[in-house]
């Protein structure tokens, strides 16, 4: 303010008044709702209209137009034990998912999801989702990775319901169309900055309207976070540029933990170079992975499931082939996905989207040549910890404690149904089932029109202060430079195969990159459509996710699911499940790794604190569906 006063002698009063007005005032509009949903992808839309259907006055705050959320890019399908292709049972799906998660998934949440799956898919079909059909007119189900019959003993299961190879696109458009029937208030292109927390309770969200630069506080009894994943922490990923982990960061800044962030899924078939996704459905329709010798190498790594083994197994196999010199291309750094042995008519009906993607991004005609592919970051198994009802939890003094007023669903949440590795086509299922679960839980616990608890008038002050600081940041590093440093560090130090020394180096480098955020420089000083500012806010969010990911990975000294350590090649459970259990001593909690990581960050210093939480091993109803005891995982 001193500089402003001195300048007043030189500048005219009006200019001065304008300067002061522009730089220091942020109008804040207050809204009151029964429930607010942050994010309008598959999970967000399902939660929003589920709440509206139950009579709640709901707001949906989203930084993207609903049909532009990353759900639209999902290709594969939704798993459900409908039994259209062969006899099927949801308990077999339950077993496959528990095994796929490498016994890190919470079995009560998995029980809930797999039991609800057929009803969820039928509900979508009733909403008008144009599923592919069999000759009899039933929903077409294709084979997908990790799905088996009779608890793994009956061969490949066909349980992935799909819409050609653009299921996510159809799902999102169907949900969006359905949501228009209800009176949800959409706040599109509003960037959610932070949660409004008071006394450990969540009372709403504060957001920036990108169109006119005003701040909005949405006060609500119930807040649902459905903001998606954070693929953009890595240099090469299949995610959109908007996948920046905003929800995870908001929760971290509120002092709450994030769970299992070190488990990042590398999808086996991302196009080499571009990083665009080629769905697992290709392998489900009969596509095979081949190395430089033309060998179908997956037969050696997964004799039963072959190319349809679980994604982490396939990614690791591909990386090993490349490392041992059997990669293809001039640098021998990728492998081929062969589809030209399949009938062209099948490719045209079942896989039209990837035919076009391969042509545009790899210049390849799938009916004649194989597609060059490489494992690429695709999904985040970790996220905001919740129970099977969708309520956000913290783990204090050995017990789970529900955070009042806060819920999470979709990729942003970690229920945890995917554990250490997600099976293909389970994510779209996760979105609709848990989106609906959040709405049902809120309807059970609260009534529409409930009086809101009082909120401090200055709630959200720190978020606005942070926004102001970033808007006028005048250091020496651009946002894009810091982001590139972070992405390269993550790509080089926390990839498919991880080693202790490389991870430790990565943690130190990430700590430096985090500190370098102090020197950020932004160029646009305006408040209307300031994309420089929004990208910088997104970078802050990405940073919080990245430090938790790499620190969690460095601490976890075992290999489980998608987290593969070269120096600790085995899974370390409470018993050694490769030998008979009699006579074995159960290891204490501190000495084994079958537990969830809960990570907290101090946003000022970037220091990560890690705690651990036990896995829930019992299903919701042991008579109906017995839990699956841990065993060795092989395909």
């Amino acid at each position: 303010m001193a500089t402003v006063r001195a300048a007043s002698r030189l500048l005219s009063k009006r200019v001065l008044a304008n300067m002061k007005a522009i730089s220091t005032q942020y109008p804040v509009v207050d809204h009151e709702f029964d429930a607010v949903v942050v994010g309008a992808g598959g999970a967000g839309l399902r939660a929003a209209f589920g709440l509206s259907e139950a009579g709640f006055n709901t707001a949906c705050v989203t930084k993207l137009f609903p049909t532009r959320s990353h759900t639209v890019a999902a290709q594969g399908g939704i798993n459900a034990a409908l039994g259209n292709m062969e006899e099927d049972d949801w308990r077999w799906h339950f077993y496959d998912t528990v095994k796929g998660s490498d016994w890190l998934g919470d079995q009560d949440a998995i029980h809930y999801m797999t039991e609800q799956a057929p009803a969820a898919v039928v509900e979508l079909e009733n909403f008008g989702m144009p599923f592919s059909r069999t000759e009899e007119g039933k929903i077409y189900q294709r084979a997908f990775g990790g799905q088996s019959l009779k608890y793994g003993k009956g061969g490949q299961a066909h349980r992935c319901c799909c819409v050609a190879d653009r299921t996510g696109h159809s799902l999102l458009h169907t949900l969006y169309g359905r949501s228009l029937r209800y009176d949800t208030s959409y706040f599109v292109e509003y960037f959610a900055l932070d949660l409004l927390m008071e006394n450990g309770e969540c009372k709403g969200v504060i957001a920036l309207c990108m169109e006119d630069g005003s701040i909005h506080r949405f006060r609500a009894q119930n807040t649902v976070i459905a903001t998606g994943g954070y693929g953009r922490t890595y240099f090469s990923c299949t995610s959109a540029h908007t996948s920046t982990g905003d929800g995870n960061a908001m929760v971290t800044r509120a002092g709450l933990p994030c769970q299992d962030l070190e488990f990042v899924q590398f999808h086996p078939t991302g196009i080499y170079g571009a990083g665009c996704l080629i769905t697992e459905g290709c392998r489900g329709e009969g596509g095979i992975l081949i190395n430089s010798e033309g060998e179908r190498f997956m037969e050696r790594y997964a004799p039963n499931a072959k190319d349809l083994a679980s994604r982490d197994v396939v990614s690791r196999s591909m990386t090993i082939e490349i490392r041992e010199g059997r990669g293809v291309g001039p640098d021998k750094d990728h492998v081929y996905l062969q589809l030209h042995h399949l009938p062209p008519q099948q490719l045209a009906t079942r896989l039209p989207g990837i035919s076009e993607t391969a042509m545009i991004f790899a210049g390849v005609d799938v009916t004649k040549e194989p597609i060059p592919v490489l494992p690429t970051v695709h999904y985040n198994m970790g996220g905001i910890p919740t129970n099977y009802k969708g309520q956000v939890i913290d783990h204090i003094n050995g017990k789970d404690k529900v955070i009042p007023g806060l819920y999470a669903c979709g990729e942003a949440a970690c229920a945890s149904v995917h554990g250490a590795n997600r099976l293909g086509a389970n994510s779209l299922l996760d979105l609709v089932v848990f989106g609906r679960a959040c709405a049902l839980t809120i309807a059970e616990e609260h009534k529409p029109g409930e009086k809101l608890s009082p909120l401090k008038p200055s709630a959200g002050e720190e978020s606005v202060a942070n926004l102001d600081k970033l808007r006028f940041a005048n250091g020496n590093l651009r946002t894009s430079e810091i982001r590139l440093n972070m992405q390269k560090t993550m790509q080089n130090h926390a990839a498919v195969f991880r080693t202790g020394s490389v991870l430790k180096e990565g943690c130190d480098k990430m700590a430096d990159v985090y500190q370098s955020m102090e020197k950020i420089k932004t160029f646009d000083r305006g408040i209307v459509w300031n994309t420089d500012l929004v990208e910088s806010l997104e970078l802050q969010n990405l940073m919080l996710n990245a430090v938790q990911t790499i620190n969690g990975a460095e601490q976890r000294k075992e290999s489980r699911g998608a987290h593969a350590r070269e120096d600790f090649k085995d899974r370390i459970d409470e018993y050694d499940y490769s030998k008979p259990l009699e006579g074995q001593q159960k290891k204490p909690f501190e000495q084994h790794w079958r537990k969830h990581t809960m990570s907290y960050v101090d946003p000022k210093t970037g220091k990560v604190t890690l705690r651990y939480r036990p896995v829930i091993d019992s299903s919701l109803n042991e008579q109906d569906c017995a839990h699956v005891p841990p065993a060795i995982r092989s395909y």
Binding site: Y26, P27, V28, D30, S185, E211, P457, S458
Partner: protein, 107 residues
């Protein structure tokens, strides 16, 4: 560091017509000017019962009155944005307007 106040400041649209203030002889408004004046009236009516909006509405319209009446693109953009903001103001869930300001003024 940041002070919260209810009232004042709603950074949005506006426009007005200098002509009306300057040329009494030419007192007929153009269609666009009439639309803007109508919008201003609607805003004032809508903002009457909710605390904090009126001062800001007035400030913004006065601020944007400086725009030349030939700059039609700008005026129409602000008009469209204003209509959206008016819809939001009318919504029953919008309650009040405050502001966060940076500075050394006491709370």
């Amino acid at each position: 560091m940041f002070h919260y106040r209810t009232g004042a400041f709603y950074c949005f649209i506006c426009l007005s017509d200098q002509n009306h203030l300057q040329n009494r002889a030419m007192s007929r408004h153009s269609k666009l000017q009439k639309q803007v004046l109508a919008l201003y009236r609607h805003f004032l009516r809508a903002g009457k019962d909710k605390p904090g909006f009126l001062p800001r509405i007035r400030d913004e319209f006065r601020e944007n009155a400086r725009i030349k009446k030939t700059d039609v693109m700008h005026i129409e953009y602000l008009y469209r944005r204003g209509q959206r903001q008016l819809q939001q103001l009318r919504d029953a869930n919008t309650k009040q307007l405050g502001s966060f300001s940076r500075g050394s003024e006491p709370g």
